[in-house]
């Protein structure tokens, strides 16, 4: 409840419906962030796979035969004719030819970028999670208090 006091509002004075609304709002935020996190993670894995694949394109492997996937289940034999350069998708329909080392560097940069975002997102998620549980605690506390008051009121009239 500590961070609610920062707003200079007594947390016990916030109307319950408003608290519940806050709870849903923060819950929704959390869901969005968690799904973004999963998405970013899969992007990171994709870059990491690309980077690993580049490891096989070495001068030593030049001229070797390989299987080229046409679909996920249909392959044709091929030959690695250029072991120095690769063409990669840099986004928005543009493809760039680069030496393997540069391509590796590209993926390294991308991975660092995504990693940075992942870390930031993780922080936000942890913070939201704490806020959500704080609000839950507050709602529960208020509910208990309300019940007790009602019980007391009932006793008083009885």
């Amino acid at each position: 409840m500590a961070q609610q006091q920062q707003q200079q509002i007594d947390p016990m004075q916030i109307p319950l419906p408003q608290l519940k609304q806050m709870h849903t709002q923060v819950g929704e935020d959390l869901d969005t962030f968690t799904s973004s996190f999963a998405q970013l993670k899969s992007v990171y894995a994709k870059y990491s796979d690309c980077s690993d694949s580049l490891g096989y394109i070495t001068p030593k492997n030049k001229g070797k035969t390989l299987l080229v996937p046409l679909t996920s289940s249909l392959y044709v034999p091929g030959e690695l004719s250029d072991a120095e350069n690769v063409i990669m998708d840099v986004g928005t329909g543009y493809y760039v030819e680069k030496p393997v080392a540069d391509a590796k560097d590209y993926y390294k940069r991308k991975m660092e970028y995504v990693k940075g975002n992942l870390d930031k997102l993780q922080e936000t998620i942890t913070e939201r999670r704490k806020r959500l549980s704080d609000i839950s605690d507050l709602i529960n506390l208020r509910m208990q208090l309300m019940q007790r008051e009602q019980a007391q009121a009932a006793q008083a009239t009885a």
């Binding site: 986004g91 543009y94 493809y95 760039v96 030819e97």
Partner: protein
């Protein structure tokens, strides 16, 4: 006179505004991600050597393109998307105001309605 039909009408108008609002917000989010992607491509082009080979995906084929031409193209796209985002921001502001005004109207009507019901 009963305010019920009027209340209904204003409610519908308010809901329409809300729908428009979320639509615009969605388009803005989409444009923003496009902008980010284009910016990343532009940054990548900057790191490229002048004589680097750049291909553009047109339909299913990759077409060779000059790097300066591609760079200009991406820059133009960034400008276009930024302008579009600015336009949408204006729309968002406008819709927000309209929404607030409508909300007040609806609340007023609701109060009148409740008073009439109570009377």
């Amino acid at each position: 006179m009963s305010v019920a039909p009027q209340l209904e009408k204003e409610m519908a108008a308010f809901q329409n505004l809300q729908k428009d609002f979320s639509k615009v917000i969605q388009s803005r989010a989409q444009l923003e991600s496009q902008l980010k992607e284009n910016e990343m491509v532009a940054k990548e082009f900057e790191l490229l050597k002048e004589d680097a080979t750049v291909y553009k995906l047109i339909g299913p084929v990759l077409v060779k393109q000059d790097k300066p031409e591609a760079t200009v193209n991406v820059k133009k796209r960034i400008e276009f998307i930024s302008a579009e985002i600015k336009r949408l921001e204006g729309q968002i502001k406008d819709l927000n105001q309209k929404q607030e005004a409508k909300k007040e109207e609806v609340i007023k009507l609701q109060q009148t309605y409740q008073q009439q019901m109570a009377a």
